[in-house]
Symmetry: C2
Subunit: 206 residues, 2 copies
Amino acid sequence: MSDDLNIQDLNTKHAQAMKALKAERDAMMQTKTLEKGLLLVHTGDGKGKSSAGFGMVARNLGWGLKVGVVQYIKGKWKTGERLFFSKFPDQVRYEVMGEGFTWDTQDRARDIAAARAAWLVSQEMIADPKLDFVLLDEINIALRYDYLDIDEVVAVLKARPGDKHVCLTGRNAKPQLLEIADLVTEMTLVKHPFEQGFKAQRGVEF
Amino acid sequence: MSDDLNIQDLNTKHAQAMKALKAERDAMMQTKTLEKGLLLVHTGDGKGKSSAGFGMVARNLGWGLKVGVVQYIKGKWKTGERLFFSKFPDQVRYEVMGEGFTWDTQDRARDIAAARAAWLVSQEMIADPKLDFVLLDEINIALRYDYLDIDEVVAVLKARPGDKHVCLTGRNAKPQLLEIADLVTEMTLVKHPFEQGFKAQRGVEF
């Protein structure tokens, strides 16, 4: 009996606390009224930067919106994301422009040419009024090695159509990019299975 | 002419450095031979925890693998991820079990019942040999409020089939969960558009 009373008491207190929290949140949310195309950056040494970008691609497709994807690095690789999103050509323009990691190509001129070609396609997508969301996957790697000019990239991103969301991924995001971003998330590695001798696995890492 | 020579020199040095880097990476990757179902945790105050989980769902679908999704919180909401992944019933079992944020329901008993029901479905999915990847979206919130017993959850996760990947998301992951995880990523908020008065937008946040 006293247990029942205690639970009832706990439930009542919970309801009161949640009511107060909801009022607080509602007031806060009322100040959030603006809508515009966001510039999103996923950086850091942890996993999930590209995955989170592809999760947003899926969300956009769910709402019937249209998406552009440029993969700057994973050129020759067969990846689950490419296999999947290539199935929706009416909603997704999917371009794989890179030629692999820079330590695989071992050819700086070729890396620069590939990055440049990817950037041209990226600009087309950013300007394309039919696309709602553009994912520039691993572009930060091309920027980090100065295969692309950060000032040029910043200028194009700043001049994008007002309703266009653009998401840029890759570690070592340049400060100039963070400066103009609306949302920056740093993915931090806490524990990684590679450390434990596991190899990259389908569905999880590619 | 001397510019040309400098660039040639730079390219040669680049090729040498990348060759050395590749040898180092190849040696490192040769030690990564194990494969098994991974326990993945996405936590932290930043964005991208659920998105990264849904990106992995897409990857799995690309490889023709099968996926289970349990959403612990976003019960009544229409979300892009649900609209999209529900289109693939042959590959995805998608269950939305929550009834909204605990400050919306304001009913602790109902929250506990919803979490419990979600956990029962989660256990079915974890045990189901047909599913390769299981996403328990926002389960950490149910664990944080002790709507689920962490010891029970840890025991079920530890006893899962050896090839099953399970991804758990939500802020404030319990230390007992981090302890048994293979991969933990903390999403850290660097900059958030909410702070600037923007509201959550379709395709980006839901």
